[in-house]
C-alpha cells in the first residue's frame, strides 16, 4: 500500500474544503454541510486506502443485467442472476489482485461471503485488469430500494461507476433524475453500458445509442462513453473490459472521482454563497470606521455635552468666588421666584450637585454598534451579515454599563475650587475692605473734620478727601474689572479643562469600543475572509 500521489491541487482543495466545513456550521445549509463533510471523510478514507485498486461499481435499475454483466466480466457465475425482480439484494465484489484490497472492501462494507477474487496474473490475458474491484450493486429503483440505500452509498463510494442500462429502462426517471443529472464533470469516471443489446437489431441498437447519447448530453454529461454490451452473447463485454482496464491501469479513477465530486460540491457551494466581490469586503475595521464608532459612542455618552455642562457650571459657580461681591449682593436683594414658590431647597439642591454624572444611553450605544456592523457587512451574504451583526452585538449588553463605569472615573467634580479662586476671592475682599475703609475715611473727613482719631492726621486732612474718593472709585472699578477678568480666566481654564476631559473620555471610549466591539467584529471578519478564501481555493 503506497500513499497516493495526489495531484497537488487535490490536497489543497481538500484542505480548503476542511476549512469550509470548519467554518460552515450555522452558515451553510445543514444538508450541504453534511454533504461536504461526508465528501471530506470519504476523500480522506479513500485516499488512505489502496491506491493500487480501482473500485468499479455496476449500477442500474432492476432487471438491467448488472449481475449478468458482472458474471460476464469476471467470467464466473459469482452473482446469482434470475428472472425474479429484484434479484440482487446485497453487493457482490470481485477482486483482481487481492493485495491490499481487504481494507478497501471493508470500507465499502461488502460482506465477506460476497467477496470473490481472481488470481489475476494467472488468468488468460487479464493482467491489465489487475487492481480492479468490481462491484455488483443492488438496484436503486425497485420497491425494495425504497428502504435500502446501499446502492446509493456505493455509487458515491466507487471510483468509477458503470451504469448498466437496458433498452427498456434506459430513459427511466429514477436513473436520470437522481443520478445522471448529477454527473456533469464526472465523464472520466462514468461509463454507460447499454446492456441487453442482443434484444435489438443492429439498426435499432444504433438508433438507441444515438438517442441515449443525446439524452445524456441534454443532461449535462458532455462526452458520455456509451458501450453497448450483451451479457448473454458476450458482445461488447470485451470492449467494456478494455475501458475498465484503461481506467485500472491509469490508477487515477479514485482521484478523478474525488475531483469531480469536489467540483460538483464546489459549484453547489458557490451557488449558495457566491464568492464574487465578497472577498473585497473589509477583513478588518479600518481607522475611519473606528473613529466613527468612537464618535457615535461618545455621543451616546454625551461627551461634548458633559464638557459643555462642566464649562457652564464652572462659569456659573466661579462667580461665587471670583465675581465682584457687590454685584452678587445686589442680585441677592432681588426677590427670588423660587422662594415665593417655597422651593428654596431646589436651588440648594442644584448647588449641591457635586459631580457631573456621565452615563451611556443604551439605545444610542446599540445604534452606534449597529451602524458599524451595517457598514462593514454591506454586500455580504445575508448569513454572514447576520453573523457580523451578532459578533458586533455580542457584548453590547454590557457596553453601556462598561462605558458608564469607566467614564465616571473621569467625570469632573463640579465643586472643585482651584487655589487661585481663593486668591482672587481674597483679593476681591481686600478690595471690598479697601472700599469700606475709604468709605469710613470719607465719612470721618466729611462729618468730623479735624477730629481725627489719635495720631492720624491724614485722616483729618480734608484735602485728602477727594483723593480718597478717587481711590474708592478706582477700587470699585478695579473690583469690577478683576471680576470680569477672573471670570474670563475661569472660562479659559474651564475650556482647557473641558478639552482635556473630552480627550480623556474619548480615549477611554475608544479603548472600550476596541475590546467590546471591534475585536469580536474583526474575529468574525477574519472568519468571513478565511471562508471565502477557502471557497476560492476550492474552486481552483
Amino acid at each position: 500500500m503506497s500513499t497516493v500521489t495526489t495531484k497537488p491541487g487535490l490536497a489543497q482543495r481538500l484542505a480548503a474544503l476542511t476549512k469550509i466545513v470548519e467554518l460552515g456550521p450555522g452558515r451553510l445549509e445543514p444538508k450541504l454541510l453534511a454533504e461536504a463533510s461526508t465528501l471530506l471523510n470519504r476523500a480522506g478514507e479513500r485516499l488512505k486506502l489502496s491506491s493500487e485498486h480501482t473500485v468499479v461499481a455496476l449500477a442500474g435499475g432492476t432487471g438491467s443485467g448488472k449481475s449478468s454483466l458482472f458474471n460476464a466480466l469476471s467470467g464466473l457465475e459469482l452473482s446469482p442472476t434470475g428472472v425474479r425482480r429484484p434479484t440482487t439484494a446485497r453487493t457482490h465484489a470481485c477482486v483482481w489482485g487481492l493485495e491490499g484490497a481487504a481494507p478497501l472492501l471493508d470500507w465499502l462494507q461488502v460482506q465477506w461471503r460476497h467477496r470473490f477474487a481472481r488470481a489475476s496474473a494467472l488468468d488468460k490475458g487479464e493482467s491489465q485488469l489487475h487492481g480492479l474491484i468490481l462491484l455488483d450493486l443492488p438496484d436503486h429503483d425497485s420497491i425494495r430500494a425504497l428502504t435500502d440505500t446501499e446502492a446509493d452509498r456505493l455509487i458515491g463510494q466507487a471510483d468509477l461507476v458503470v451504469w448498466v442500462l437496458d433498452p427498456q429502462k434506459y430513459a427511466d426517471a429514477s436513473t436520470h433524475r437522481r443520478y445522471v443529472t448529477e454527473l456533469a464533470g464526472h465523464e472520466a469516471v462514468t461509463v454507460f453500458a447499454l446492456n441487453q443489446a442482443d434484444l435489438l437489431s443492429t439498426e435499432e441498437l444504433a438508433e438507441l445509442v444515438i438517442d441515449l447519447n443525446d439524452l445524456l448530453r441534454r443532461e449535462g454529461v458532455e462526452h458520455p462513453s456509451v458501450v453497448p454490451t450483451s451479457a448473454v452473447t458476450g458482445r461488447g463485454v470485451d470492449s467494456l473490459k478494455s475501458v475498465l482496464a484503461g481506467a485500472v491501469s491509469r490508477r487515477r479513477s479514485a482521484i478523478q472521482k474525488l475531483e469531480a465530486d469536489l467540483h460538483r460540491l464546489e459549484q453547489r457551494l458557490a451557488e449558495t454563497m457566491p464568492v464574487g466581490e465578497v472577498l473585497s469586503a473589509p477583513s478588518s475595521v479600518d481607522e475611519a470606521r473606528r473613529l466613527g464608532l468612537t464618535d457615535a459612542l461618545c455621543d451616546a455618552v454625551g461627551v461634548p455635552a458633559v464638557g459643555e455642562a462642566m464649562e457652564n457650571v464652572y462659569a456659573e459657580r466661579s462667580m461665587r468666588w471670583v465675581g465682584w461681591p457687590y454685584s452678587r449682593w445686589v442680585a441677592k436683594l432681588r426677590p427670588d421666584p423660587l422662594r415665593s414658590l417655597h422651593l428654596e431647597d431646589v436651588s440648594d439642591e442644584i448647588h449641591g450637585i457635586t459631580t457631573s454624572s456621565v452615563s451611556a444611553q443604551t439605545a444610542e450605544t446599540v445604534n452606534a454598534v449597529q451602524a458599524l456592523a451595517d457598514g462593514l457587512s454591506a454586500g455580504m451574504h445575508p448569513v454572514w451579515r447576520t453573523s457580523v451583526h451578532h459578533a458586533a452585538r455580542s457584548r453590547s449588553a454590557q457596553l453601556p454599563k462598561a462605558l458608564t463605569e469607566d467614564l465616571a472615573e473621569v467625570a469632573p467634580r463640579l465643586d472643585r475650587v482651584p487655589g487661585w479662586w481663593w486668591l482672587l476671592k481674597v483679593w476681591q475682599y481686600v478690595l471690598v475692605a479697601a472700599f469700606v475703609l475709604g468709605l469710613a475715611w470719607l465719612a470721618v473727613g466729611v462729618f468730623f473734620p479735624g477730629r481725627a482719631p489719635l495720631g492720624i492726621q491724614l485722616l483729618g486732612d480734608t484735602a485728602a478727601l477727594p483723593w480718597v474718593g478717587l481711590m474708592m472709585a478706582s477700587v470699585l472699578g478695579l473690583g469690577a474689572l478683576s471680576g470680569i477678568a477672573s471670570r474670563n480666566f475661569v472660562e479659559l481654564g474651564a475650556s482647557r479643562e473641558r478639552e482635556r476631559l473630552e480627550r480623556e473620555m474619548r480615549r477611554r471610549v475608544a479603548a472600550i469600543a476596541e475590546t467590546m466591539v471591534v475585536e469580536p467584529v474583526e474575529r468574525e471578519l477574519g472568519r468571513h475572509h478565511a471562508f471565502y478564501t477557502a471557497m476560492n481555493n476550492l474552486a481552483r
Binding site: 434470475g82 455635552a305 462659569a315
Partner: protein
C-alpha cells in the same frame, strides 16, 4: 340493567376477555387469529375475521355492554334478565348457537320492535359510550342492527337523544343535512331505510384506506341478508370472487325488496341507496364481479343525477377558486392536486355523471418500454400508436375506439380539455389527444394509450396521470423486467386508493421464466392486496410491425369483448370507478381544504408574529419611558448644563409688569435636541429589534417565512426621518399643552411667569425620570403647574407619544403585511366552502 354496573364492567374489559376467551376461541377460531384479533382491538374492523362467528363474537367478548345491548334486543330468552347473568352465558355459549340467537331475530326486531323494547337497549348501550370513544369502534359489528351505532362514532350527540330508534334516525340527519332531513320526513317507513342510508355515508366520512374492510361486515347486516353477512368479511379478505357472489346476489335481492318497501320515498333518495351501496362495492371491493344493480348503475335517475351534478359543479367552482399563494411545504403538491382534481372533474367526472351510458374508456398505463403501444396496436389490429425502441416512445395519448363510438370520443365532453387530432404530428402540443377509430375493437370500449409513468420526460407522467384520472378502467402494463419498479407500485397503490377497476398485463415474459416470474409477481400483488385482479400474461415474442402475435392477446381481447357485450357489467365497472373517484374526493378535497387552512393559519401566525414583535417593542419603549433610562448620556448632561448654568432659574421669573422672560435659547435648543435624539434612538432601536424579531420568528416558522422576510430585517429607511418628525411634533404638542393647560395654578401665575418652552422640557425630564416624584424637575413642575393639571398633561403627553410611536410602528409593520399580501392572500372561507362542497357531494350521492 343499570349503567353503573355496566361501567364497572367496562373498566376491566381485559380481564374479562382473558377469562372468557380461551373457551370460545379454542372452539371456533383458528389459533392464528386469536392474538391477531386482540392486537387489533382499537379498530377491530380493520380486517374482518375470516371465520363466520368471529365478527360477532369480538364484540361480545370485548364489549360486555354491547353484548348485552344486542342480547337485550333479541326477543328471545333473557333479554330483560339481569345483564350480568346474561353476558357470561352468552360468551360461553357455543358459537354455533349464537348465529340463531343473533341473526334471526334482529330483523323482525328492527322492523317491528315495539317501542318499549328500546329503552333497555338504550340503557345498555349508553354505558360504553360514556366510557370512551375507542370502544364504540369495536362495538360496531354487533350493533349494526341497532342502526344508531354508526352514528355514535360521528355524532357525539348527547345520549338522551337516542331513547327510541325513531329519534336515532332523525338525529344524525338533522345534524348533517337539511336535505336528508326532508327526505326522511317524507319517508313513510323510514326506520330501516334511514338507518341504512346514514350508516354508509357516515362511515365514509371517516374515509381512510382502512375503511375498506370495515364496511364489509356492516353492510350486509344492514340489509336483511343476515346469513351472508358473516361470509362476506371472510370473503372479502380471502376469496373474494367466488364467495362473495352469492352474498352480493342476495344483497341485490334485498335491494329490490327494500325498494318496494320504500316505495314512498322520493326517487332521489331511493337512488341514493342504490348509489350508496354501489359505491360501497366499488370502493371497498374493486374486484366485485359485475351483475348487480345494473339498472341503477347504468342509468341514474334524472333527478339524482341533477343533484349530483349541482353538487359537483359547486365543488368544481370551489376548487377552481382555490389559490395557494404561500409556498408552504405541501403547497406545490396542493396546487398539483388542485389542478388534477379540476382536470378530473372536467375531463371525467362531470361528463361521466351527465352521460353515464357512454362507452367505457380503458386507459392503458405503465412504464416506458412496457409495450403499451404495442398492446393497443395489437388489440386494435391497426398501428394506431407508434412503437419503437426509443424511450419514451409515446408522448401524446392515443385513443382507439369502435367507429360507432368515435363521435362520442371525438366530440364528447370526456377529456374535453384536450384538443382532438386525427394523427400524430410533430406540432401537436401537449394538450392533444389522437382519436383513431378502428372496427377491430368491440363497441362500447375504447382503449387509450398513454405516455409512460416513469421515464425521464416528466411531463409524460403528468399526461398519464391525467388520462388515468379520466379512466373507467385501468389496464396496467408492466414487464418481467420491471414489475418490481417503485413507480409501478406507486401507480398500483393509487389505483387501489381510488378504487379504480384494474386489470394488469405482465408482458415481455420469457417463456421459460414464466412460471417463476408470474408466481413471484402474484405473490407481490397478493401482499399488496391486489391478488385477485384480472391478470394477463404476454410472452416475450417478436413484435412485427408494432404488433404482438394474435395468440398472445386472445385473452385480453376476450375480456374486452365480454365487457363490450355485457353492458351491465361494463356499466357497473364504469360506475365503480366513478364511485371510487367520488370516494377519493372525500380525502382529496379535504386535503386541499387542509392545505388552505394551513395557509390561512400560516398567514395568521406570521401576522401574529409581526404584531407580537411590535407590541413587545412598544412595551420595551414604554418601559424605557418609565424607568428613566432615557435620561442618560447627552440628555442627562444637557439637563445638568441647563440646571447648573442657572438657566433653569432664569426660566422662572417673578411676574413684573410686562417683563417677559427671555434668555439665551441655545442651551435650551441643545437640550431639546438631545431629548429628541434620545427618544429617537429609543424608537429606532425598538423598531429594529422588532424587525429582527419578526424575521427571526418567520425564519423559525419555515423557509417560506425566511424568504418572505428576506429584505425586511431592518427598519425602513424612512423610519429615522419619520421618528424625528414625530418627536418634534410631540414636543411641540407638549409645549402647547403646558402653555394652554398649565396655567391652572392661579396662586403661582400671579406671582411668577415662566417660559413654556423651557418648562415643557423640564416637564419631559420629569416625565421620563420615572420613579418617585422626588427630583428637582418633579418638584418644579409640580409647584408651577399644580398636581392636578400636571397629571392631566402627563397623561395626555404620554398617550400622545404612544400614539405617535404606535403609528410609526404601524407603518413599519405594514411592510410585513405587504410582503405577506404580495405572496397571495388565502381566502379564509375557502376551506369551509370546500368542506361544505364535499359534504354536499356526499349528500347528493
Amino acid at each position: 340493567m343499570n349503567t353503573a354496573k355496566d361501567d364497572g364492567r367496562q373498566e376491566s374489559p381485559g380481564e374479562q376477555t382473558l377469562s372468557f376467551r380461551p373457551i370460545t376461541e379454542e372452539d371456533v377460531v383458528p389459533p392464528d387469529d386469536a392474538p391477531d384479533d386482540r392486537a387489533r382491538q382499537p379498530a377491530p374492523e380493520e380486517r374482518p375475521a375470516p371465520v363466520e362467528p368471529l365478527p360477532r363474537r369480538k364484540p361480545t367478548s370485548r364489549k360486555p355492554a354491547s353484548t348485552s345491548a344486542a342480547a337485550s334486543k333479541t326477543p328471545s330468552s333473557a333479554s330483560d334478565g339481569p345483564d350480568e347473568n346474561h353476558r357470561p352465558a352468552a360468551d360461553l355459549e357455543p358459537e354455533r348457537k349464537r348465529p340463531s340467537l343473533w341473526e334471526r331475530p334482529p330483523s323482525p326486531a328492527e322492523d317491528h320492535a315495539p317501542e318499549p323494547k328500546r329503552p333497555s337497549l338504550w340503557d345498555t348501550r349508553s354505558s360504553p359510550d360514556e366510557d370512551g370513544v375507542p370502544e364504540s369502534e369495536s362495538k360496531r359489528p354487533s350493533l349494526w342492527d341497532t342502526r344508531s351505532a354508526p352514528d355514535e362514532d360521528r355524532v357525539p350527540e348527547p345520549e338522551p337523544k337516542r331513547p327510541s330508534l325513531w329519534d336515532t334516525r332523525s338525529a344524525p340527519d338533522e345534524d348533517r343535512v337539511p336535505g336528508a332531513d326532508e327526505s326522511s320526513s317524507d319517508a313513510e317507513r323510514p326506520s330501516l331505510w334511514e338507518a341504512r342510508e346514514s350508516a354508509p355515508v357516515e362511515e365514509q366520512d371517516e374515509s381512510s384506506p382502512d375503511e375498506e374492510p370495515e364496511a364489509e361486515p356492516k353492510r350486509p347486516s344492514l340489509w336483511d341478508t343476515r346469513p351472508s353477512s358473516d361470509e362476506e368479511p371472510a370473503a372479502a379478505e380471502d376469496e373474494p370472487s367466488e364467495q362473495e357472489r352469492p352474498s352480493l346476489w342476495e344483497r341485490k335481492a334485498s335491494t329490490g325488496e327494500g325498494a318496494e318497501h320504500g316505495r314512498k320515498t322520493p326517487p332521489g333518495q331511493d337512488e341514493r341507496h342504490g348509489s350508496g351501496a354501489d359505491e360501497e362495492s366499488g370502493a371497498r371491493t374493486p374486484h366485485t364481479p359485475a351483475g348487480e344493480k345494473t339498472g341503477q348503475g347504468a342509468a341514474l335517475p334524472a333527478e339524482a343525477a341533477k343533484t349530483l351534478m349541482t353538487a359537483l359543479d359547486t365543488l368544481r367552482a370551489s376548487v377552481a377558486e382555490l389559490r395557494f399563494g404561500l409556498d408552504l411545504p405541501g403547497a406545490d403538491e396542493a396546487r398539483q392536486a388542485r389542478a388534477d382534481l379540476l382536470a378530473q372533474l372536467q375531463d371525467y367526472v362531470l361528463p361521466r355523471v351527465r352521460t353515464n351510458t357512454a362507452p367505457a374508456l380503458i386507459v392503458i398505463a405503465g412504464s416506458t418500454g412496457a409495450g403499451k403501444s404495442t398492446l393497443v396496436n395489437s388489440l386494435a389490429e391497426k398501428n394506431v400508436s407508434r412503437t419503437g425502441v426509443r424511450r419514451p416512445t409515446t408522448g401524446i395519448p392515443v385513443l382507439a375506439c369502435h367507429p360507432d363510438d368515435h363521435k362520442w370520443f371525438a366530440e364528447g365532453e370526456l377529456l374535453s380539455g384536450l384538443r382532438r387530432i386525427d394523427k400524430a404530428s410533430p406540432e401537436a402540443g401537449p394538450d392533444t389527444l389522437i382519436v383513431v377509430p378502428t372496427e377491430k375493437l368491440p363497441q362500447g370500449v375504447a382503449l387509450l394509450d398513454t405516455p409512460d409513468i416513469d421515464s425521464v420526460v416528466e411531463k409524460h407522467h403528468a399526461i398519464a396521470q391525467r388520462m388515468l384520472d379520466a379512466a373507467d378502467l385501468w389496464i396496467f402494463v408492466t414487464t418481467a423486467a420491471r414489475y418490481a419498479d417503485a413507480p409501478a407500485w406507486n401507480l398500483l397503490r393509487l389505483a387501489k386508493e381510488r378504487g379504480a377497476r384494474l386489470a394488469i398485463v405482465l408482458s415481455r415474459v420469457q417463456p421459460k421464466a414464466r412460471e417463476v416470474v408470474l408466481k413471484h409477481f402474484v405473490r407481490m400483488l397478493t401482499e399488496y392486496g391486489l391478488g385477485d385482479i384480472d391478470r394477463f400474461v404476454i410472452g416475450e415474442t417478436d413484435v412485427t410491425d408494432g404488433r404482438l402475435p394474435d395468440h398472445e392477446v386472445t385473452d385480453l381481447r376476450l375480456w374486452l369483448a365480454e365487457l363490450s357485450v355485457d353492458e351491465d357489467r361494463r356499466a357497473l365497472a364504469v360506475r365503480e370507478t366513478l364511485n371510487g373517484v367520488l370516494d377519493s374526493f372525500r380525502t382529496r378535497v379535504p386535503a386541499l381544504a387542509r392545505q388552505m387552512e394551513s395557509q390561512v393559519n400560516f398567514r395568521g401566525e406570521l401576522r401574529t408574529d409581526v404584531e407580537a414583535a411590535y407590541l413587545s417593542a412598544l412595551t420595551e419603549i414604554d418601559k424605557a419611558f418609565r424607568n428613566g433610562s432615557l435620561i442618560h448620556g447627552e440628555v442627562l448632561a444637557r439637563w445638568q448644563d441647563f440646571v447648573g448654568s442657572g438657566d433653569l432659574m432664569r426660566t422662572i421669573q417673578l411676574r413684573k409688569r410686562g417683563r417677559s422672560a427671555r434668555q439665551a435659547p441655545e442651551r435650551i435648543m441643545a437640550f431639546r435636541a438631545a431629548l429628541r435624539a434620545g427618544l429617537e434612538s429609543v424608537i429606532v432601536i425598538g423598531a429594529s429589534r422588532a424587525a429582527e424579531e419578526v424575521v427571526a420568528r418567520w425564519r423559525r416558522r419555515s423557509p417560506l417565512g425566511a424568504a418572505l422576510g428576506a429584505e425586511l430585517d431592518r427598519p425602513s429607511d424612512d423610519l429615522v426621518r419619520h421618528a424625528s418628525r414625530a418627536i418634534a411634533a410631540w414636543q411641540e404638542h407638549v409645549t402647547d399643552l403646558v402653555r394652554t393647560e398649565g396655567v391652572a395654578k392661579r396662586s403661582v401665575s400671579k406671582l411668577v411667569s415662566f417660559d413654556a418652552d423651557s418648562l415643557s422640557l423640564i416637564f419631559m425630564v420629569a416625565m421620563f425620570t420615572g420613579g418617585a416624584a422626588e427630583g428637582v424637575p418633579h418638584r418644579l413642575v409640580n409647584a408651577l403647574l399644580g398636581a392636578e393639571s400636571l397629571r392631566g398633561i402627563g397623561t395626555k403627553a404620554l398617550s400622545d407619544l404612544r400614539a405617535r410611536i404606535g403609528m410609526l410602528f404601524d407603518e413599519e409593520s405594514m411592510r410585513y403585511v405587504q410582503a405577506l399580501d404580495s405572496a397571495g392572500i388565502p381566502d379564509e372561507s375557502m376551506a369551509t366552502r370546500l368542506y361544505q362542497a364535499t359534504y354536499n357531494l356526499e349528500v347528493a350521492r
